[in-house]
């Protein structure tokens, strides 16, 4: 059984006007079935308002389903007794690092989660050390988070989640506010956690290039999961993605427009090396 399972997950909320009168019901998530295996790297794409963040917030029990179920490691998020355990198993990283860091010193901030879980002091420090090393921020452990760059802050946020020893990390547009180098650092850390530590990753992003490393891509539209497949399968459908307000990686787009000009190329090219291969330029 998968680490994250949703069965016909529906989330509805009541829209209200200024006076607070109910105006109607919005279905933000519409019968989504998800089955994510332990150790899998799943990316979720979708335009603003497609329901991807609402879906993500169900996985660590910030929101509860209107209909259907969400199981995290076999536990139903609607059972109150499980909520804290679920939040420890499925950690969440948000877009703005400034809203997630609370400590005055980096290592204190990272220790906050395990401390709240009642982990013994000695083990907290061990976890802080290993988490900061995992994100490459150990050298900054005594620094004030205020002085760090966006990418560094976001890596500290990730360390704070790792210190709780989650089985799964959900990242909701973790790179949206970062400069190119910050984006690279964060994605490198996410891939390493998945690869080396076998942490299950659920990555929500608007950067198509960050998705090519995923095992599987899910595309959301109007609350539904409308496309699912490997990055190559998904990015082969350029026109469909564009109609969903999305995009494809730049190299995929280049190959696609060359194709339209009559250059014989396969669909779904994901890297410059693949493009060189397809154009007939041999390695070395």
């Amino acid at each position: 059984m998968g680490i994250i399972q949703t069965n016909k997950l529906v989330f509805e909320y009541i829209r209200r006007d200024e006076e607070g009168n109910a105006e109607g019901i919005t279905r933000a998530v519409d019968e989504v079935d998800l089955d994510v295996k332990q150790g899998e790297f799943v990316a979720i794409l979708g335009h603003n308002g497609s329901g991807k963040s609402t879906l993500a917030k169900h996985i660590n029990a910030i929101l509860y389903p209107t209909e259907g179920t969400v199981l995290v490691d076999g536990q139903d998020t609607r059972e109150e007794a499980h909520v804290w355990e679920i939040r420890q198993k499925a950690g969440m990283v948000f877009q703005n690092p400034d809203n997630q860091i609370i400590g005055q010193v980096v290592e204190e901030d990272v220790g906050f989660g395990p401390e709240n879980m009642g982990v013994p002091t000695k083990e907290i420090w061990e976890r802080v050390e290993e988490s900061l090393k995992a994100v490459g921020m150990y050298a900054f452990r005594k620094h004030s988070p205020n002085k760090l760059s966006g990418g560094q802050k976001q890596r500290v946020s990730i360390a704070g989640v790792i210190a709780m020893h989650p089985k799964c990390i959900i990242l909701d547009e973790p790179t949206a506010m970062l400069d190119p180098n910050g984006r690279k650092e964060v994605i490198r850390v996410v891939r390493a956690l998945n690869h080396v530590e076998e942490v299950t990753i659920l990555l929500i992003t608007h950067y198509m290039e960050e998705v090519i490393y995923a095992d599987r891509v899910i595309v959301m539209d109007q609350g539904r999961a409308v496309m699912q497949g490997t990055p190559r399968e998904i990015f082969s459908q350029v026109e469909r993605l564009k109609s969903l307000r999305l995009d494809v990686p730049q190299v995929t787009m280049l190959a696609h427009s060359l194709q339209k000009k009559g250059v014989p190329l396969p669909d779904g090219i994901l890297t410059a090396e693949e493009l060189a291969d397809a154009l007939g330029y041999r390695k070395g």
Partner: protein, 282 residues
């Protein structure tokens, strides 16, 4: 008509132990009608710089001239300057506050003391310029999608009829279509009105696609100031300061390394396509 920055420095917490340079001896001219990209890593001084352009921050050293006049001299009309140089902050939708979209956009011109008719004409024009659909004019701005909210916020600044529009990461957090729509609108607005645009962005691809001049900031100083093709030739230096060249540049480098005789001074999709077709003899 231009903004001139003459040896501008800005020191935080000047005269204390904590004093730190945010801007160091900046000399720049921003002439009318340019589309300028301002790039730099987090903390490089971009936002501090743009806040000097309309006098929100005063330099601790040097002078800033708008159309020849020192903006911090006695008697200079700062209020007028702020309507001439329009600044759109990051996540500007957080500043929406009125009961409906149209009233929100009217706020700026109304404060300029314009008549009700002129105010409404300007609000209407500004909302048209950002491509905001008329049927939502009387909706609460809080019920809109992220991309629509951002258009309203930009329209609020455009309604002041600025000569210079400064946008600090206007597409952060938007989906790819929303990002293209906003930037296409701004490019069209520039073509239509000749307005000067300063675009702060972390997307090298967007910068390559839209601007005619790039200013690169690093640690409070100007590292490069040139046309995109020239600036992006320095990819190693850009990477050393937390930036990068556009992906197209790297793609072309890879093709070249693999033996394809393509030029590598390429920054956009159109250029890359043309160059590959040229080599293929199509």
């Amino acid at each position: 008509m231009a903004i001139v920055l003459d040896h501008v420095s800005y020191i935080y917490e000047k005269d204390t132990e904590m004093a730190a340079f945010a801007l160091k001896d900046i000399c720049l001219t921003i002439p009318d009608g340019q589309f300028i990209g301002l790039i730099g890593h987090t903390g490089s001084g971009k936002s501090t710089l743009v806040q000097h352009l309309n006098g929100l921050l005063a330099p601790t050293g040097g002078h800033i001239y708008y159309n020849g006049k020192d903006i911090h001299a006695d008697g200079f009309d700062k209020k007028e300057l702020r309507s001439r140089v329009g600044l759109v902050f990051q996540y500007p939708e957080h500043q929406l506050f009125e009961v409906d979209v149209f009233t929100d956009v009217c706020f700026g011109p109304k404060n300029l003391g314009l008549s009700r008719k002129e105010t409404e004409l300007r609000a209407f024009e500004a909302l048209r310029q950002v491509g905001f659909p008329e049927e939502y004019f009387y909706q609460s701005p809080f019920d809109l999608s992220g991309g629509q909210k951002r258009r309203v916020a930009i329209a609020g600044v455009l309604a002041m009829k600025p000569d210079v529009l400064v946008l600090d990461e206007p597409t952060a957090g938007l989906d790819p279509k929303g990002r293209d729509e906003i930037l296409d609108r701004i490019a069209a607005l520039k073509a239509e009105t000749g307005i000067t645009v300063v675009l702060v962005s972390h997307s090298m691809e967007d910068i390559a696609k839209y601007v005619d001049r790039i200013i690169v900031m690093n640690r409070g100083s100007v590292l490069f100031d040139d046309v995109p093709a020239e600036v992006f030739r320095h990819d190693a230096e850009l990477e050393a300061v937390g930036l990068a060249a556009p992906q197209m540049t790297y793609i072309m480098r890879t093709l070249r390394r693999r033996g394809m005789e393509v030029g590598t001074d390429v920054t956009t999709l159109e250029e890359a396509e043309r160059e590959i077709l040229r080599v293929l003899g199509k």
